[in-house]
């Protein structure tokens, strides 16, 4: 039997690795990958809480499905932005994209 704490600690670790990736990556696509890791960590938690605490209802799984939809929307718009910026500036390094910096 696996205690709930194992899932929660794993999800916390995965979230922290994703957070490090978002904050430290130079490449904009790398930043989006870090966001995907964080969303997956949240999804592990949702499903683990559903299974261990609230398995009589279906709320945890329904919420995880909504997170899937949001992740798909986020990555589609994010990658379109990356491609558009690459076309304008010939770079995807996040610290060189500073047109809004005054």
């Amino acid at each position: 039997m696996i205690p709930l704490s194992w899932y929660l600690i794993l999800a916390a670790g995965l979230f922290s690795v994703g957070l490090y990736g978002v904050l430290s990556r130079k490449n904009a696509v790398g930043i989006l990958m870090g966001i995907e890791l964080m969303l997956n960590a949240a999804n592990i938690n949702l499903v683990a809480f559903w299974r261990y605490v609230d398995s009589d209802s279906i709320a945890g799984q329904a919420f995880a499905i909504i997170v899937f939809a949001v992740a798909a929307a986020e990555v589609a718009v994010g990658l379109a932005l990356v491609i558009s910026v690459y076309r304008l500036r010939k770079t995807v390094a996040a610290d060189e994209i500073d047109m809004l910096k005054w």
Partner: protein
């Protein structure tokens, strides 16, 4: 140690190792392939948690769509992606400290929760034999997503969000004629 625990620990080690590779690999194509491995490990966890439909959706949507979309974007911006000699920006030290801080505070806060080390009770539905339980859960999930008393509004909002993201992505990435 039971077989389930061994499977969990092996999957967890694979997830954390490949996630670390995702955020540190210099070559972004390699990072994207490690991302696929991470997402697959999460699908294995969903199977362990008896959320089989979510495991299938994880493979279809995350690996089949999102990771492939990532690889497309990397290839479209490839010249820069491949000769990205510096992986991390100058904030990497602060980022690592913040990540460790978030991890330790999450574990400390959750450790104070009384149900932190709880075990799962067997998944049951009244009047459903155990060999039809999986189908029953999927049917329940599908009905709850279109049930006015359950989650039909979040479901419809999510579909509108996807449509808006679809149109927005096309508009943003559209190459105007010169």
């Amino acid at each position: 140690m039971t077989a389930l625990q061994v499977i969990f620990l092996a999957t967890a080690a694979m997830i954390l190792f490949s996630a670390w590779m995702v955020v540190t690999r210099r070559n972004l194509v390699h990072a994207a392939l490690y991302l696929v491995l991470t997402l697959f490990g999460v699908a294995v966890l969903f199977v362990l948690l008896e959320a089989t439909f979510l495991a299938v959706v994880q493979v279809l949507i995350y690996i089949g769509a999102i990771a492939i979309l990532m690889i497309f974007a990397i290839m479209l911006t490839r010249r820069v992606a491949s000769d990205d000699t510096v992986v991390a920006n100058h904030n990497a030290g602060w980022a690592a400290m913040l990540a460790v801080l978030v991890f330790s505070s999450l574990v400390i806060i959750m450790g104070a929760w009384s149900q932190f080390t709880t075990f799962a009770s067997p998944l049951t539905r009244p009047g459903v034999p155990s060999n039809e339980l999986g189908q029953e859960i999927v049917a329940e999930l599908g009905q709850s997503l279109v049930d006015p008393d359950a989650y039909v509004i979040p479901f419809e909002v999510a579909s509108v969000l996807l449509l808006a993201a679809l149109i927005g992505a096309i508009v943003v990435a559209w190459q105007k004629d010169k």
